[in-house]
C-alpha cells in the first residue's frame, strides 16, 4: 500500500540523462536584481548552516577560561591545540586515559563488515523486489517500510532475546554433528552487531535499491533473460556494473549511521572493542563534573571526521545516486 505509492510514481526520465546539469531557466546577465537576491539568500543560508561548524572549530581551539568569559562566536585569542590532543589521546574513559584513539580502529572493524553485509543484502532485496516480484513480496516490503518508523530502543530487548536463542540454537545444531564444537554466540560478538546493523539499515536501503533497479531499462533485463541469464547472472553482470551511484548513496548512509551509532555498538562489544562513539559519549555525556566544552567539541569533530570526509569526497556522486534511487521508481 503505502510503499508502492511512495516508492513508485512517475518515471520522470531514464536514469542516465537525469543529471546532465541544472535545468532551471538560464540567467542572462551576471548582475541583475534577481541575481543579487538569489546570491544574498544563498549567502544567508550558508551562514546558518556553517555557523555551528564554525562554533565547534573555534571553541575547540580555545582554552577553558576563554570559553567561560568570551562569547562563543569570537575567534580564539590564543589558539591552543590542547583540546584536540586531549580528545584524541588523553581524555579518560573510566580508568583508561587514551582518548578517542582507542576506539578509532574498533569503529573501523565494526564499520567495514556491517556496511558490506547490509548493502549486499539490501541490494539483493531491492533487486528481487524490482525485477523478480513474487507473490507477497510487496507485503514484506511494506512491513519493512513500517519498520523504519519504530524507535530502535523499543526493539533492544526482544532482539537481545532472539540473538541469544538463535546463538544457542546454532550451537546445539552444530554440536549435533560435532560434539565438541565451541559455543557459538551471536550476543556480544561482532557477528551479532553486524546482523543488527543489517536489520536496521534494511528498510531505507531496500527502498533506495528497489527504486533504482526499477528504473533500469527493462530491455536490458529482457535481453539478458533471452540469453539465458538467471537471477544471479543478471544481478552480477548487468545490475551491479550499472549501479555505482546508488551503491555510493547506500554506502554514505550506512557509514554515517553505523559510525555514529552508540547504542548497538556498546551492547554488542566488550570494553576492548568499544567503538569511538562510546568514548565520545563518555567525554560529552558525563553526568557529573565540569564540562570541558573545548574538548567536547574537538572530540565531536574528530568523531565526525570519517562521515564528513566521505560526504566531501563523494560530492556529486551522492546527488546522482539519490537522484536515481530516491526519485525514480
Amino acid at each position: 500500500m503505502s510503499d508502492t505509492a511512495l516508492a513508485s510514481g512517475v518515471a520522470l526520465k531514464p536514469a542516465q540523462d537525469a543529471l546532465s546539469g541544472p535545468r532551471g531557466p538560464k540567467p542572462k546577465r551576471r548582475i541583475t536584481p534577481a541575481n543579487i537576491i538569489l546570491y544574498s539568500t544563498l549567502f544567508v543560508v550558508c551562514i546558518y548552516y556553517l555557523l555551528p561548524l564554525y562554533v565547534m572549530i573555534v571553541t575547540s581551539l580555545k582554552g577553558m577560561p576563554e570559553i567561560r568569559l568570551g562569547n562563543i562566536f569570537s575567534p580564539p585569542v590564543e589558539v591552543t591545540y590542547e583540546p584536540w590532543i586531549k580528545a584524541w589521546a588523553e581524555a579518560c574513559t573510566g580508568v583508561n586515559c587514551d582518548g578517542l584513539s582507542r576506539g578509532f580502529w574498533n569503529s573501523v572493524w565494526i564499520l567495514v563488515p556491517s556496511v558490506f553485509l547490509s548493502i549486499a543484502i539490501a541490494s539483493v532485496n531491492g533487486y528481487a523486489l524490482a525485477n523478480w516480484r513474487f507473490k507477497g513480496s510487496e507485503v514484506f516490503f511494506t512491513i519493512l517500510i513500517f519498520g523504519a518508523f519504530i524507535p530502535y530502543q523499543v526493539m533492544i530487548y526482544p532482539i537481545v532475546i532472539i540473538l541469544r536463542e538463535s546463538g544457542e540454537g546454532i550451537t546445539s545444531f552444530v554440536r549435533f554433528f560435532y560434539e565438541d564444537a565451541p559455543t557459538i554466540r551471536l550476543m556480544g560478538s561482532l557477528s551479532g552487531l553486524v546482523i543488527v546493523h543489517t536489520i536496521f539499515g534494511m528498510p531505507i536501503l531496500t527502498l533506495l535499491f528497489r527504486n533504482y533497479f526499477t528504473s533500469v531499462p527493462e530491455e536490458l533485463f529482457k535481453a539478458a533473460r533471452v540469453d539465458g541469464a538467471g537471477f544471479w547472472g543478471i544481478y552480477f553482470r548487468i545490475m551491479l556494473p550499472m549501479s555505482l551511484p546508488i551503491f555510493v548513496v547506500a554506502m554514505i548512509l550506512q557509514v554515517t549511521g553505523i559510525w555514529n551509532d552508540f547504542l548497538f555498538g556498546v551492547i554488542y562489544t566488550k570494553p576492548d572493542t568499544y567503538p569511538m562513539t562510546v568514548q565520545l559519549n563518555n567525554i560529552v555525556n558525563s553526568v557529573q563534573g565540569i564540562k570541558e566544552y573545548n574538548v567536547n567539541m574537538a572530540a565531536t569533530l574528530l568523531t565526525g571526521l570519517v562521515p564528513l570526509f566521505i560526504y566531501f569526497a563523494s560530492g556529486k556522486l551522492f546527488v546522482r545516486g539519490i537522484a536515481a534511487g530516491a526519485v525514480k521508481g
Partner: protein, 409 residues
Amino acid sequence: MKLTTKLLAATAMISATAASAVELEVTHWWTSGGEAAAVSKFAEAWNATGNTWVDGAIAGSGGTARPIIISRILGGDPMGATQLNHGRQAEELIEAGMLLDLTDVAAAEGWKDIVNPPTLLDACTLDGRIYCAPVNIHSWQWMWLSHQAFEDAGVDVPSNWDEFVAAAPALEAAGKVPLAMGQQPWQSSGAFGVMTIAIAGTEAWLQVNRDKDADVAAGPEYTKVFEAAVTAREMAADSNVQDWNLATNLVITGQAGGQIMGDWAQGEFQVAEQVAGEDYTCLPGLGVNEILDTAGDAFYFPKQDDPEIEAAQKEMAAMLLSPDVQVAFNLAKGSLPIRGDVDLSAANDCMKKGLEILAGGNVLPSGDILLSPDTQGQVEDLMVEFWNDPSITAADAQARYAAIIADAD
C-alpha cells in the same frame, strides 16, 4: 602488604581453587574527573592482587548505561561486575537468578558488623541473602551557601532554611538569584526530598516513603512542604541553568545565594579552591534537621558458569569493602565510606560534619531503597513540572503527589 594478605585470606576462605589470574570486566558510569580517579583506586587494588581489571565505563546513568547492562545480562553475555545504585533497581535480576549470591563472602568478611549504617546492607539483601557490595554513601541532605552573595546583599549568612527564606529579598535586591536550581528532573525531585525531611520531619517522610501512606502525603505536614516548595520555586525563578554543576557554579561565583544539592557538589567547591567556612557554608538537613539519607553506589556480580570467574568475583567483592580501598576510593570520590572503622583524617570540614552525623546514627534509608524506580520516575516527572510551571499550585501538586504515593508499590 596488609591488604594483599587479607585478600589472600579471604580468597582462601571462599574457595581454594582460585589461584590463577582472572580478567574481570567491570561496567560503571563513573567518567568525570574525580569519579574516574576513584575508580582507578579500585582498579589499582584489583590489579595488585594479580588479576586484571577490564574497565567498561559508560557515561550517563539511567537511560544510557542501564539498557546496556541489562541487555548484556539478559543476552547471556554478562560482565564480571557492574555498578548499580543499590536499592530496588536490581530486585528483579536477583529474583530471576541472574546475580551472584555473596552471602558467604559477607559472612567471611563480617560485613554485618562493619557496614554502617546497616540499612546499606539491607538494601543488598533479599530473602536473607546478600547480593551486592556497597561501596560508598552519598547523601542529598545538604545546602550550599555562598558567603560572597550574602556579603554583597548585606545580610548574614543564614544558618537554616527559615533565615535563608528571610534573606531572599535582600539577595534579590542585590541582583542575585536567591536559590540556584538545575532543571533536570532528578534535581527537582531531590531538592523536594531534602525540603520534606527538613520541614515535615523524618516521621512523616518515612510514613510516606516507606509505608506509602497517601493520607500523610495529602496531610497538613506535607502541605507545609509544598508551600515551602512554592516559595523555593519563586526564589529559583531566575536560575535558568540545566546542569547541577552549573547551578553550583552560580553559588561558587556568588551569583546565587545557595543551592540544595547532595554532597557531590563539594567537589566543585574544591576544584574552585574554595574553603568551607570561609567562602562557603554547608548546611546538613537545611540546618533544621541534621540528618543524612544514605544513598550510594554498589557493585553487583552477574552469575557466570565459570567457577574460576565466580571465585574472582567473590574476591573482588571482598576487596571493595576492605579498609584501605575504602579510604582511597572515598577520598577521591568525595563520598563517605560504608564502614565506620576507617581513618578519614584527610577529609575536609563538610565531610567531617557528615561523618559525625553518620557516627551519631542520624541516618535515614535513601529513597532508592524505599521506592521503586518507577515511582521515583513518576515523582520526578511531577516535580520537574511543578518547579518549572508557576501555574501549578501547592494544592494541585500535593494532590497529584498523594495519588502517586497511593499507587506506589
